[in-house]
């Protein structure tokens, strides 16, 4: 049949060869003899490494044991991972040194938070902004009372006993809720026409960004007491919380400023021409668009903050990683550093990955509305 009889409209690009898995592999992995050799070598190495890991972490692993000795005894032939450690030390990982019989208070606060936040994710007719603001004001007081105790018949648990994943979540939670609004205010301040506001914002941001978090925490814990009158002390945890919040606020401010700069001048002008004042213009027109643009940057800062919480170790607080380091020193489980750290890393990873996925879902949902 002559090719001329095929009408142009019926032509389709060849699918399988160019678009399928085979096509992709041919283009990217086996494009030249050298590429092919590299691909094969790397594939073999990856396969070997994965098999090793699988043997160590799953096949030869021991899940039930009371101590390291029992673990070692249970290994048949090759040495595997001693996951019995997680079973035995799970409580410490999650709650730190919080007294075992009081742990229900943390669980209760966690359940309360989930229940209280549920309306924010459901489609029901409430003013979500007002509800969220109320939650941010009320919940920390409630949670703090529950955690610390000493009132309402609850036993007092000093903040120095707080630790593990629980402490990580407390610091990250406070840091995140405080740094976003603070960062927004600082970003607005930096773009303000009022010279004093602008100068103060710039000074704060540049000063804090120029110093490592470890230094901020160290200063807060060692230097601050020197400047306070005799007898006045702040809780160690409180100082760390303030340090972490202010530190991330400075980073957040720059992320938000990037978003503010992306909003065209016309948006400000249209808002002004309609008679909106500064705060309404920012709150209703500029910030909703600017924040949407910088969700990846904001979540990036949150994830950084979440992991930076482990630096509170320097002021003697034991977060998830801090607990891992305590657990390593436990005579019963001595010498299981790999397992101990891997468990802590998995803990961090689960939360950071969760935040990342949530931000992507949020971006997709928000983008659905106003495709340009």
């Amino acid at each position: 049949m002559a090719t001329g009889e095929i009408s142009a409209a019926s032509l389709r690009p060849p699918v399988a060869e160019r678009l399928g898995v085979v096509g992709w592999m041919r283009r990217n992995l086996f494009n030249s003899p050298f590429d092919s050799v590299l691909t094969v070598i790397l594939a073999l190495f990856l396969a070997w490494a994965l098999v090793q890991l699988f043997e160590w972490a799953v096949l030869n692993a021991v899940w039930r044991a009371e101590s390291k000795q029992e673990c070692e005894a249970a290994f048949r032939g090759e040495r595997g991972a001693c996951w019995a450690l997680l079973r035995a030390r799970f409580g410490q990982y999650v709650y730190g040194l919080y007294p075992v019989e009081e742990r229900w208070r943390i669980d209760l606060a966690f359940v309360l938070l989930i229940v209280a936040m549920a309306p924010l994710f459901l489609r029901i007719g409430i003013n979500k902004l007002l509800y969220a603001l109320g939650l941010i004001l009320v919940y920390p007081i409630l949670a703090y009372t529950l955690f610390l105790g000493g009132r309402f018949g609850l036993a007092l648990v000093e903040t120095s006993k707080w630790g593990g994943l629980f402490l990580t979540l407390v610091i990250a939670g406070v840091g995140i809720t405080a740094s976003l609004p603070l960062g927004i205010l600082l970003a607005l301040g930096r773009r303000s026409r009022l010279p004093v506001v602008k100068a103060l914002s710039v000074a704060f941001i540049e000063l804090v960004r120029g110093v490592p978090l470890v230094t901020v925490l160290f200063m807060a814990s060692v230097m601050l007491p020197l400047f306070l009158p005799e007898g006045v002390t702040f809780d160690k945890l409180l100082r760390a919380l303030v340090g972490v919040s202010l530190f991330s606020a400075a980073y957040m401010a720059e992320v938000v400023r990037g978003g503010l700069q992306a909003i065209p001048k016309g948006q400000y002008e249209a808002a002004a021409a309609l008679g909106l004042g500064y705060w309404k213009m920012m709150g209703l027109i500029v910030l909703p668009q600017a924040l949407r643009l910088v969700i990846p940057g904001i979540v990036n800062t949150f994830i950084g903050l979440f992991k930076d919480t482990s630096l509170v170790l320097i002021v003697g607080l034991y977060d998830l990683l801090g607990m891992a380091q305590l657990i390593i020193k436990d005579p019963q489980w001595l010498g299981l550093a790999t397992e101990t750290y891997l468990i802590a890393a998995a803990g961090f990873w689960i939360f950071c990955f969760g935040m990342s996925r949530y931000s992507m879902a949020l971006e997709r949902r928000l983008a659905r509305g106003h495709r340009r």
Binding site: P264, Q267, L284, H370, R371, R372
Partner: protein
């Protein structure tokens, strides 16, 4: 209604507005034209203080524009503005674009604001687009929404800053039709535009600006048939040539 007396403005050393005097009565329609960079946009943007003038007086609806924020707010509530690039709020639906200022600035209940919004969307002939986002509309539709948005504030004066310049040619008419209707209802309008057909049929008088000065003010028939200044003649020959 609007009075500009000896208004001057500088951008740094550059003198953008030179001794502007202009008086617009209630219900009058004024078309401002002139070559680009002549200061026409700057002039109308001074009227709702998107730009600040540095010398002279601007009085709108009996209120003088000073650095007093209260006066600025009061004037902006009474003066609607339509921009070349529409400047709709892309994160809000058409209906939300229209009700935002009435609700937050005029403190009108949401239900009433939505009724007003739908009334004006009918007037600009796109009520069916109320729940779409601006990005889903054509340029002509967006500009009509922008006009409706300004009208929802029930302004006494409407300023148009080159409302059809950014539109594809086939959409210019639908926007001009809406503006002509508005003019017929007696709205006080100042329109910066190069649509000379619109000027001829609607304007009470045409203001020609060049290099920051008002060169000529004349009723359209006189302006187009018998321009007094050479600069006006040159400008008209350039834009009417094709």
């Amino acid at each position: 209604m609007i009075r500009l007396e000896d208004v001057h403005k500088w951008y740094g050393e550059f003198h953008v507005l030179k001794a502007i005097n202009l008086e617009v009565e209630k219900g009058q329609k004024v078309v401002v034209c002139g070559p680009s960079g002549s200061g026409k946009s700057t002039m109308i943007r001074c009227i709702n203080r998107l730009e600040e003038h540095q010398r002279g007086r601007i009085v709108v609806d009996g209120i003088e524009l000073t650095s007093d924020v209260k006066n600025v707010d009061a004037i902006r509530r009474e003066v609607g503005m339509v921009f070349q690039h529409f400047n709709l709020f892309p994160h809000l639906t058409v209906l939300e674009n229209l009700t935002l200022a009435p609700i937050w600035v005029r403190r009108i209940p949401r239900k009433e604001a939505e009724e007003t919004a739908m009334f004006f969307l009918e007037r600009v002939k796109i009520p069916e687009q109320a729940h779409k986002y601006p990005g889903q509309l054509s340029g002509g539709q967006q500009q009509r929404v922008a006009i409706a948005r300004a009208l929802c504030m029930k302004p006494k004066i409407m300023l148009f800053d080159e409302p059809t310049s950014a539109l594809d040619p086939e959409m210019v008419k639908e926007v001009l039709d809406v503006m002509i209707e508005l003019a017929d209802e007696g709205m006080t309008m100042i329109v910066v535009t190069h649509e000379m057909g619109f000027a001829k049929s609607v304007a009470d008088f045409v203001v020609f600006m060049d290099k920051g000065e008002i060169v000529e003010v004349a009723p359209p028939e006189e302006f187009f048939t018998n321009p007094k200044s050479d600069r006006t003649r040159l400008f008209l020959s350039q834009i009417l040539a094709h």
